[in-house]
C-alpha cells in the first residue's frame, strides 16, 4: 500500500490567452520509505506536480484526478484539513532562493513556527527542539543562529535551515523542490549528503533537473516531459541504459557525457501535438510518432516507457 498514490492527475491553468496543460494525466505512486526523483527540464510540470500534491496551486489552476495520501484523497480535503497535513504529514523543502526565508523574521521563529502549530508545544520546548534540529543540520553555534536573520547566512546555510524547518515536525513525506538549485558544487554535495541522512526512513519525493542529485538520493526515478511521465524505473537501470530517446538525450547533454544538448524546444504547453510530444526533437521518430500518442507501457524490471519504438 503506497504512501502517495497519484492517478490520472491533470493540472490546467486558465489564463487570459487560453489554457495551459501543465500536468497531463500522470499516474505515480510511492511506497513507504521509498525515495523517488522526478526529473525533467524546467517547464515540464514537475514542480507543478509537487505543488498540486501540497494543494498550493494558484486559484486559476484546475486540478483533476486523484491524489491519495495514506488512503485519504487530498483533492477532496478542505483548506483547513489540508493545513493540518502540510508541514506535519507532508513537508516541502522549497526551491532555495534569497527570498525563501522571511527576511524580517528571526530564524528561530521561522523554524519553531510549525512545531508550535502542529505539535502544540510551548515556545520554550519548540526552541530547544529547533536548536537540536539546526545543530543536526551542521550549523555551528545553533542557539546564536536562532536569533539571527536570514540575510546573515550564506546560500548553503539558508538551504540547511529550509531543510531544518521542513523536517521540524518529522513528516511522513518530504517533497524537495530543486534543493540544489543555485548552489555551488561543494555546497551542493554537502546538501545532498545532508538530505540523504536526514531523509533516511522517510518517503522522499525529489523534484530536480539534476540527474546527479537524483542518482545520489533516490532509488527510483521518473522522467517527465511536456507534462507527462515518459520513463520511470529504478534509478541505476534508467540511468545506465535509458530507453526513451528523451532520457538518452538528457544523459547525452550532461557535461560528463560530452555536453550534446537536445536540438529544438519542448512543445508549448498551450497545445500539444497530436502524436508523441517528443517526436519533433527525436532522431528516431517515425511517421506514426507524429500521429499516434504513445501510451505508457510496462517493461520488464518494473520499468515504464512512453514510446512507440518499443511496441
Amino acid at each position: 500500500m503506497g504512501v502517495l498514490e497519484i492517478s490520472g492527475l491533470s493540472v490546467r491553468f486558465m489564463i487570459q490567452s487560453g489554457i495551459i496543460y501543465a500536468v497531463d494525466s500522470v499516474d505515480f505512486s510511492m511506497k513507504p520509505g521509498e525515495s523517488c526523483a522526478l526529473v525533467g527540464e524546467s517547464g515540464c510540470g514537475k514542480s507543478v506536480l509537487g505543488m498540486s500534491v501540497m494543494r498550493l496551486l494558484p486559484s486559476n489552476a484546475v486540478v483533476t484526478g486523484l491524489v491519495r495520501f495514506q488512503n485519504s484523497d487530498l483533492t477532496g480535503l478542505d483548506e483547513h484539513d489540508m493545513q493540518q497535513i502540510r508541514g506535519k504529514e507532508i513537508a516541502m523543502i522549497p526551491q532555495n532562493s534569497a527570498m525563501a526565508l522571511n527576511p524580517v523574521m528571526k530564524i528561530g521563529r521561522q523554524v519553531t513556527e510549525s512545531l508550535i502549530l502542529h505539535r502544540g508545544v510551548s515556545r520554550k520546548a519548540a526552541a530547544t527542539t529547533a536548536i537540536h534540529l539546526i545543530s543536526r543540520m551542521g550549523i555551528s553555534d545553533p542557539d546564536h543562529a536562532m536569533g539571527r536573520y536570514p540575510h546573515e547566512f550564506s546560500g548553503g546555510m539558508q538551504e540547511r535551515i529550509l531543510i531544518a524547518l521542513s523536517l521540524a515536525c518529522n513528516p511522513t513525506l518530504i517533497i524537495a523542490d530543486e534543493p540544489t538549485a543555485g548552489l555551488d558544487i561543494l555546497i551542493r554535495n554537502q546538501t545532498i549528503e545532508l538530505l540523504k541522512e536526514q531523509s533516511r526512513g522517510k518517503t522522499l519525493l525529489l523534484i530536480t533537473h539534476d540527474l546527479g542529485c537524483a542518482h545520489n538520493l533516490c532509488s527510483r526515478i521518473a522522467v517527465m516531459y511536456a507534462g507527462e511521465i515518459v520513463e520511470s524505473g529504478p534509478t541505476s537501470d534508467v540511468l545506465s541504459l535509458p530507453k526513451h530517446p528523451y532520457t538518452l538525450g538528457l544523459l547525452a547533454s550532461l557535461p560528463s557525457a560530452g555536453f550534446h544538448p537536445i536540438p529544438g524546444m519542448s512543445p508549448s504547453p498551450a497545445g500539444f501535438p497530436a502524436g508523441c510530444r517528443f517526436c519533433a526533437r527525436c532522431q528516431s521518430a517515425t511517421d506514426l510518432c507524429h500521429t499516434q500518442h504513445p501510451p505508457l507501457r510496462i517493461m520488464g524490471g518494473s520499468r515504464q516507457v512512453r514510446c512507440l519504438l518499443y511496441d
Binding site: Q16, L56, L57, P58, S59, N60
Partner: protein, 273 residues
C-alpha cells in the same frame, strides 16, 4: 478582466474632455466673456447652466475652462516628466559624483515645504497659466527623478546594455536607444498620474485666488461662486458644474493611470493562492 474595461472608460472620458477643449469655439453657445444675460439667471433653454454674477453664460465658460485647466495640467506634467526622465537617466546611468550632486540637491529641495513655496513663487512671478505650469512641473519633478533613476540603475547592468557597451556604442546612444525604451512605459504611467495631480493642484491654486485673470478656468469659477456666497443661497448651477467637471476629469485620469500601471506592472495582477 476588469482592467481593460476601466482603461477604456478612462481613455474615453479623457478624450471626451480633450475634444471639448479643442472644439470649444464650436460647442460653446456664447462667447464666455460676453455678457449674454441678466446676472445669476436660472438654467433655462437659452442658458442651459444659467449665468454667473456677471451675466456670462456658465456653460460656455465651463467649455472654455476645459482648455486652460487641461493645458495647465498637461504642461506641468510634461515638464516634470521631461526633467524627471532626463535627469533620472543621466544620474542613473553615470552615477558617481554627478549622481551624488543631483541627489543631494533634490534632498535639499525636498526639505523646503513645497506648497507654500509654490504659492510664494506664483506670486513672485505674477500668476499666469504657464508660470503656474512651469513652477508646478519643476518643483514636482524631484520625486519623478528618483523613481526613474532607480529604474535605470536596476537595468544599467542588464546584459543587453552591457552588450551595447561591448560593441562600443556611445553613452548617449545607449541611454536613448536602449535604456529609454525600457523605462518609457513607466514614464507614461507617471505622466498620466502626475497630470491628474497637477490638474487638481492648478485648480486648487486658482481656487485660492492665484489664477490667471486673462483666462477662464474651473478653479476661478469655483472661487467666484464660493467667495460670493453663491451656493449658500441655492445658486447651485454656479458652483456645481465646474466642481463636477474637475471631479470627472480627475477620475478619468485616475482610472487611466491605475489601469495602465497594472498593464506595465503585471505583478499587480497576481493570482491568489
Amino acid at each position: 478582466m476588469n482592467k481593460g474595461v476601466v482603461f477604456w472608460i478612462g481613455c474615453f472620458v479623457f478624450l471626451f474632455y480633450g475634444a471639448v477643449a479643442v472644439c470649444a469655439p464650436i460647442l460653446a453657445p456664447y462667447d464666455p466673456y460676453a455678457i449674454t444675460g441678466p446676472p445669476l439667471k436660472h438654467p433655462d433653454s437659452e442658458h442651459p447652466l444659467g449665468t454667473n454674477a456677471t451675466g456670462q453664460d456658465i456653460l460656455s465658460q465651463l467649455i472654455y475652462g476645459t482648455r486652460v485647466t487641461l493645458l495647465v495640467g498637461f504642461c506641468a506634467a510634461a515638464i516634470s516628466c521631461c526633467i524627471g526622465t532626463l535627469l533620472g537617466i543621466e544620474t542613473g546611468y553615470y552615477g558617481r559624483i554627478f549622481d551624488e550632486v543631483v541627489m543631494r540637491i533634490i534632498d535639499i529641495v525636498m526639505t523646503i515645504p513645497l506648497f507654500p513655496l509654490l504659492l510664494v513663487l506664483t506670486l513672485f512671478f505674477t500668476p499666469g497659466i504657464f508660470t503656474t505650469a512651469v513652477l508646478m512641473g519643476v518643483l514636482g519633478s524631484t520625486r519623478g527623478i528618483r523613481v526613474i533613476r532607480s529604474q535605470v540603475i536596476s537595468i544599467r547592468h542588464a546584459t543587453f546594455i552591457e552588450g551595447a557597451r561591448a560593441i562600443g556604442e556611445k553613452d548617449h546612444q545607449i541611454m536613448y536607444r536602449h535604456i529609454l525604451p525600457n523605462i518609457l512605459p513607466l514614464v507614461t504611467v507617471k505622466f498620466v498620474s502626475s497630470m491628474q495631480h497637477y490638474l487638481l493642484l492648478g485648480v486648487g491654486l486658482s481656487f485660492l485666488g492665484l489664477g490667471d485673470p486673462m483666462v477662464i478656468d474651473w478653479g476661478q469659477m469655483i472661487e467666484q461662486a464660493y467667495s460670493s456666497g453663491g451656493f449658500a443661497l441655492g445658486l447651485w448651477w454656479w458652483l456645481l458644474p465646474p466642481g463636477l467637471a474637475v471631479v470627472g476629469i480627475s477620475l478619468a485620469l485616475a482610472l487611466l493611470g491605475y489601469s495602465s500601471e497594472e498593464i506595465i506592472n503585471p505583478r499587480l495582477l497576481v493570482n491568489r493562492l
